[in-house]
């Protein structure tokens, strides 16, 4: 046994140079690269989730309330040796030199943040090392946008409430950015000890009190166990909740990469199956010969296992290396969408890689081992070196079954794997029919053309099965790429087209009712548009049908203050999904209309009673309709819309959205200097960012599908090599009969370029159908075939298959005919 193993390992370098083992090796490398590329990326993103989740909270767990929480829980936590910090946040005007800006004020204790880092800059833009968690008393740190608005220099001060503060640093970043108030209000961090001196918190003020805790998981758990009697207004936020949200988003985005990885593995597995078959055929001779010279079945088997083990190990190492590079490329490509400063990957993908390669080898080669083990030495004398056809069929069935099981376990998603395999099978079947038709067509031409062409076309119809396999496998990989290219460009173009020139690109918030006429008079003549203001009411959903809102599955939605508006008429970009719009009755009924998506998640239906708190007043309103909102309209949209009767008299500010040409930045500056309390959001950068995200994400997925195309090329090479002996013999025979090498090459070029055109054509036809379906049914866009992509694919297919085919059989054509014929 050991001798056989050592013999196999000793022979490995020579055998690896052998085309069949090398192709098998490449197939495994490709499959491993695809899976490790995907899992390394997924793994790094998953690892970063925990960190990000903690950073989002700036702690492992927080208590959050709109009323003071008191020191009770802090003392419990300190007793458990947890780290603690506190923040108190609110909105207030920051004043400087006669100007004022609504700012998000966050007061902190020096321990803040417990997770994540504060990033501060001095006024020269240099990083401040190891900042404390709160400024010295009498100092503040302000975000750059506020500093720019006030044109503050080093040592200048600003006033918040009754207290003047020196701006001692620029606040570049802080962890719990998304937990506070309006994220577009510039943030100022002050020392919590200065809070009383500001004198801005009055009874009824909207304030968020947070206590932050961090420590070992067990300490956190035991701390949480002691928080049984929390008041209703105090909420616990844990990183797990945040992590789940991020995880869901990640899972969705990772699914596309998984899909590409899956398709690559399946196509690589086809290449592996073809290579494994050739490996087995070649080894029947080797094994039989070894037996002639005294090798036992155990020796033969262990020699093969030794080689396969080594090949698997090497393929895994190379595959993991390539996967790592792919993953770095993807991270680089996705820079800006995902945090490029991700933690390093864990070792888990390496085990997955090893599992992938082992399963592929076991699934594709192992079934042949029994045939090789029991191969009779007499076969050498009889020159009987064929595989048992019935066993081969069984072996392929076993291999496919093993592959499905393995992929289902690997992707932990049987439905995804079976859908993809069935989908590929159906698309493959359609391509098979198209391919069979094309092969049939080739036979019609063969009497009307020259000998080179004739032989090439004859080869296609004679090697019918092989030709159709080329058409299907290569066509399938090419189609996947073409569909992605088409869909990607179509999606972005159509999305761009869907945004008219009048699509608003600036939002203005915090407009007071006294400013409405002035703002309309200022903006309207300058941009040539009528200015429409929408009321904005800060409120909070307290209860549904008089029940507590606790325990609902969208606590985040409820615990945060919500922006509410009121309409008398239904806006153009809203439509009624259930119930009825109030129309004129809005002036006489206490009603609310809810976004249908949010209604579904909160289990709200027409007729339910909701209780809101707005401006210190509790309002009971009845849901009279659910609305479908076109969020992509870039108009101000609201989840909750109250009837005019309820909201007309409530304290409210206004919001408007306008289209200001990108180059007219002066107008915005002039407007903001005239109305300094108004907050502006420029959507141009958001629009560009969305475009960028779409572009990058789809490009990254497309890159992953390039691997699938490579797997297709590999399958092509594997099938060509599988018939290399036969081709060598035929070439030698033709050469002996007087055919020039140029004629033989012409016939080979004809064969492969025709197959390439066929594959490109089948891929193009498939692309038109699939892209058409995706565009019209899934993305709800008009589909017009992209002629550049389709013809590009056709030309690429012809050139790629033509070149690969010619290169692969080149050796066979150049083999000395006498040797080939004498020693087949």
């Amino acid at each position: 046994m050991m001798q056989g193993l050592l013999y196999g390992i000793r022979r490995f370098p020579v055998d690896l140079k052998n085309s069949d083992l090398f192709l098998l090796f490449l197939s495994i490398v490709l499959a491993v690269s695809a899976i490790t590329g995907v899992t390394f990326l997924g793994d790094r993103l998953r690892l970063s989730i925990k960190q990000q989740a903690a950073v989002v909270l700036a702690a492992d767990v927080t208590l959050r309330s709109t009323a003071p929480i008191g020191p009770k829980y802090l003392s419990i936590a300190k007793g458990q040796e947890l780290n603690t910090a506190e923040t108190i946040s609110f909105l207030s005007m920051a004043l400087h030199g006669g100007n004022n800006v609504l700012s998000s004020i966050k007061t902190t204790t020096p321990e803040y943040p417990l997770r994540g880092k504060l990033k501060l800059l001095d006024f020269n833009g240099q990083n401040i090392d190891k900042p404390t968690g709160s400024p010295l008393r009498g100092n503040i740190w302000a975000e750059q946008s506020l500093i720019d608005r006030f044109n503050i220099a080093k040592g200048d001060s600003i006033t918040i409430g009754n207290k003047r503060f020196v701006v001692s640093a620029v606040l570049a970043d802080f962890p719990d950015r998304n937990v506070g108030f309006l994220t577009f209000a510039p943030t100022v961090i002050a020392n919590i000890e200065d809070l009383d001196a500001m004198g801005v918190i009055q009874p009824g003020s909207r304030v968020v009190y947070r206590q932050l805790y961090s420590g070992h998981e067990s300490q956190i758990e035991s701390f949480l166990d002691e928080l049984q009697d929390l008041p209703a207004e105090v909420r616990i936020q844990r990183i797990e909740n945040i992590g789940q949200q991020l995880g869901r988003t990640l899972d969705r985005s990772n699914r596309f990469f998984s899909l590409a990885g899956l398709v690559t593995i399946i196509i690589a597995a086809i290449a592996a199956m073809i290579s494994a078959r050739r490996f087995a055929i070649r080894h029947i001779f080797n094994c039989s010969l070894m037996k002639v010279f005294g090798a036992t079945q155990g020796f033969v088997l262990s020699a093969l296992i030794g080689q396969l083990l080594l090949m698997t190990l090497l393929a895994t190492i190379v595959g993991v290396g390539v996967g790592l590079i792919i993953q770095y490329m993807l991270v680089d490509l996705l820079k800006g969408i995902i945090d490029s400063d991700l933690p390093g990957p864990s070792l888990q993908p390496i085990w997955i890689a090893l599992l992938t390669s082992s399963c592929l080898v076991v699934g594709t080669v192992a079934p042949y081992l029994q045939q090789l083990r029991v191969s009779q030495p007499i076969r050498v004398l009889r020159n009987d070196l064929k595989l048992d056809y019935k066993s081969s069929f069984l072996i392929n069935a076993v291999a496919i079954f093993a592959l499905v099981i393995f992929l289902s376990i690997l992707f932990a998603d049987f439905s995804l794997v079976s859908t993809i395999i069935i989908g590929l099978f159906l698309v493959g079947l359609s391509l098979f029919c198209l391919g069979a038709l094309m092969v049939k067509c080739c036979s019609f031409f063969d009497n009307q053309i020259g000998i080179g062409w004739k032989l090439g076309l004859k080869n296609i119809s004679r090697r019918r099965g092989e030709s159709i396999l080329h058409l299907v496998v290569f066509g399938l990989s090419l189609m996947a790429l073409m569909v992605l290219t088409e869909t990607r460009s179509d999606l972005i173009n159509s999305w761009k087209q869907s945004l008219s020139e009048e699509t608003p690109n600036h939002f203005f918030f915090n407009i007071q009712s006294s400013e409405l006429d002035g703002i309309a008079d200022f903006l309207s003549p300058r941009i040539g548009q009528a200015i429409k203001f929408t009321p904005l009411i800060r409120g909070r959903l307290l209860a549904i049908n008089s029940g507590s809102n606790q325990g609902t599955n969208s606590g985040r939605m409820i615990e945060r203050e919500a922006n509410i508006t009121w309409y008398d008429q239904l806006p153009d970009n809203n439509s009624i999904a259930a119930g009825e719009w109030w129309g004129m009755e809005g002036e006489s009924i206490q009603a609310v209309s809810v976004d249908e998506g949010v209604a579904e998640s909160l289990n709200i239906g027409v007729g339910d009673e909701l209780i809101f708190n707005a401006a210190g007043v509790d309002l009971a309103v009845t849901v009279t309709s659910l609305r479908r909102i076109k969020w992509e309209s870039f108009q101000p949209n609201f989840i909750f819309v109250l009837s005019p009767m309820v909201a007309r008299e409530l304290p409210q500010s206004f919001i408007t959205s306008v289209n200001i040409p990108e180059e007219n930045t002066q107008l915005v500056d002039e407007f903001l200097s005239r109305y300094p309390t108004v907050t502006s959001i420029n959507l141009n950068s958001a629009l560009n960012q969305i475009k960028n995200i779409l572009n990058k994400a789809s490009l990254a997925v497309q890159y992953m599908f390039l691997l699938a195309l490579l797997a297709g090329v590999l399958t092509l090479i594997a099938t060509i090599f599988a018939s290399a002996d036969q081709r060598r013999y035929e070439s030698a025979l033709l050469h002996t009969l007087g055919a020039k090498r140029s004629k033989i090459f012409q016939s080979i070029a004809t064969e492969f370029i025709t197959i390439g055109i066929g594959a490109g054509l089948t891929a193009a036809i498939g692309t038109v159908f699939i892209s058409g379906f995706l565009s019209t049914q899934i993305f709800e866009l008009n589909y017009s075939p992209n002629i550049f992509v389709l013809t590009g694919g056709l030309i690429f297919g012809a050139i790629c298959i033509g070149c690969v085919g010619i290169l692969a059989v080149r050796e066979a054509v150049y083999a000395p005919p006498l040797l080939t014929l004498r020693d087949p």
Binding site: Q3, Y7, K291, Q297, V380, R382, R822
Partner: protein
């Protein structure tokens, strides 16, 4: 008095065919002594190669026994027969059957490596020197002529110092000059090391050099 090395007793070989059971060998009895050179001749399809395979333990007869060095190999399983082949049998084929990706020396090393011989390379090089191909040791089979390939195959067959060397049409794929030199080589090995030689051949010049010629016709020794 030489002792019998190989004995075939009442060997019959039958195979299933679409026309029914086909008898390839019928009641063959044969005794071969140590150091003897015998040839088996006969027309194509007479069963020569099948007989050779059964004598070498590569195949089993339908009935009958084969004894090699006082051991009945026909009652052994495949692995045990392989072990005996590894120790006592060398084989030369008409089509050389060299492994195409292995160099000449690696091909010759094959039977030694199967036995786990640590001095495989030295012995293989010595065997190649013996057949006059020490300078071609690193050449691949496709870089060798037909005669050279067969000499490598002969080196591979006798590198383990087998008691008996089977050769199936060893000159069948060679020109006259190469046939002659391969024949010389086989008989000189037979004489030098007292290796028994069993030849299956159409080459009368070669068969006439053997001590004993068995004529096989329609599965029977005439």
């Amino acid at each position: 008095m030489k002792t019998p090395l190989l004995e075939a007793k009442n060997i019959t070989k039958e195979v299933n065919s679409p026309e029914g059971i086909l008898t390839i060998l019928s009641d063959i009895n044969l005794t071969v002594y140590e150091g003897q050179a015998i040839s088996i001749v006969g027309p194509s399809g007479s069963g020569k190669t099948t007989l050779l395979a059964i004598l070498a333990g590569l195949d089993l007869p339908s009935t009958g026994q084969v004894w090699l060095s006082d051991q009945e190999i026909t009652s052994l399983d495949e692995d045990a027969r392989a072990q005996i082949r590894g120790e006592k049998v060398g084989f030369v084929f008409q089509s050389f059957h060299l492994l195409p990706r292995l160099s000449a020396v690696d091909n010759v090393m094959l039977p030694l490596e199967i036995k786990g011989d640590r001095q495989a390379r030295e012995k293989a090089l010595k065997a190649l020197t013996r057949v006059g191909l020490n300078k071609r040791a690193s050449h691949l089979p496709n870089q060798l002529s037909g005669g050279e390939k067969q000499r490598v195959a002969i080196a591979r067959a006798f590198v383990t110092r087998p008691a008996i060397l089977f050769a199936d049409e060893p000159t069948g794929n060679l020109d006259k000059a190469s046939s002659q030199s391969v024949g010389e080589l086989l008989f000189s090995i037979n004489q030098e090391s007292d290796t028994t030689l069993i030849l299956v051949t159409h080459n009368t010049a070669l068969s006439e050099r053997c001590e004993l010629v068995h004529q096989l016709d329609e599965g029977r020794i005439q």
